[in-house]
Subunit: 232 residues, 2 copies
């Protein structure tokens, strides 16, 4: 059921969308929402770390990690190392981003974990970490038998894609939630900041092109081994 496309071309689209989404979330947090701080009396600056860190980690770095096997010109072992290191960085930054949201809530005495975005978010970071952990044990260190690795691969991909789709979806939920809060507090529903919410659409497109690469066929000219998710 693989889609016949030139994945290396699509990878350029992915990288371009990654840049656009990252720039947009920075512009939003800095130009519209006032920038960042880890300690401040202006608690909004603490919150602003949350969308930037979580989008760039679990969505952007996570997406680039997922397509590393098919987008990078290195040999498979190098791509595998990049795959797991990028995912590890994504998890660390993701946890930091989630911590920023709790810190903001605690310091402003807002209750924690009362929205669907927060519930799904906790689910995403737990599942993402579990996915990394068991995959590290099965595929890297100490590594299981090649039969098990090969047979488990479709599950690794399905579960990974599942967690990734949840992460992308939850970013979009987060953008919507924040904009809804702001609009309820008086932000112009058709003003430039409201339309800056179109970064949610860019995020969805980014995730879609990542999955398009996952479900694409190897080009006929490439050796199977250097262009696939086959287990090593």
């Amino acid at each position: 059921m693989s889609v016949g496309i030139n994945s290396r071309m699509v990878a350029f689209v992915v990288h371009a969308l990654a840049v656009v989404a990252s720039v947009m979330v920075f512009v939003w947090s800095i130009c519209y929402r006032g920038g960042f701080a880890w300690e401040s009396t202006n608690k909004t600056l603490i919150f602003n770390l949350h969308p930037v860190l979580t989008l760039i980690s679990l969505v952007i770095l996570g997406g680039e990690a997922i397509i590393s096997y098919k987008s990078l010109p290195f040999e498979k072992r190098a791509n595998k190392l990049i795959h797991l290191v990028l995912h590890a960085i994504a998890i660390v930054l993701g946890i930091l981003g989630i911590y920023a949201a709790f810190k903001h809530h605690n310091e402003k005495h807002i209750p924690n974990l009362y929205t669907i975005h927060s519930w799904v978010g906790i689910g995403v970071i737990v599942l993402y970490s579990l996915q990394w952990l068991y995959s590290f044990i099965v595929y890297f260190f100490p590594g299981r038998s090649s039969t098990l690795r090969r047979e488990f691969l479709p599950w690794h991909i399905f579960l990974g894609v599942f967690v990734y789709v949840l992460a992308v979806g939850n970013s979009v939920l987060g953008f919507l939630e924040k904009l809804t809060f702001l609009e309820k507090s008086g932000l112009d529903k058709f003003g430039s900041e409201a339309f800056h919410g179109s970064m949610a659409i860019i995020t969805i497109l980014f995730g879609t092109f990542v999955l398009l690469i996952v479900y694409s066929k190897a080009p006929p000219s490439d050796e199977e081994d250097n262009y696939s998710y086959s287990a090593i």
Copy 2:
């Protein structure tokens, strides 16, 4: 990259989750939000048609349509007819559900199309309808050559899954948006209605199990032709 599971078993989980999600959205709309009306001075009753119709159409019926090939005991041609009819009903009910949201906005003089949920929603219904239309032409009437149908199948599946994931994600967005509006208007953040928002999690689970069936292998005992998405 197919996952080795017993899809007929998983289909039972899907049907069960479909029932739970449908009951929950009805209970929410009727017991918590006051029920339905097409014409009323209480405009909330008009809005209440929106979550019920869109969830049951594009998500529940859409999901059941997607897995029809793998969940129903009929022969392939019958499943194909069920697949396209269920999707057609989903589109009609979906449009009606979206219309209810516009009707509610118009009669209450709320601006239309200012949220991410509404933008993605318009995208979903347009793409869902286009997906149905080109697929009808390619696979049903007048129907194209078997080569084209076979070669186009991975795209049909990928695009279909893409639109479906958008539909599921957008339902979750919608639940979150409505609950955020209600909580901003004084609804208890930890009250029973807020926790009824867990239907969003049921919806995500439903969508996940639908996709698990899509990406599952045929059981060895089944004939390939009676248990797959191969083009007919």
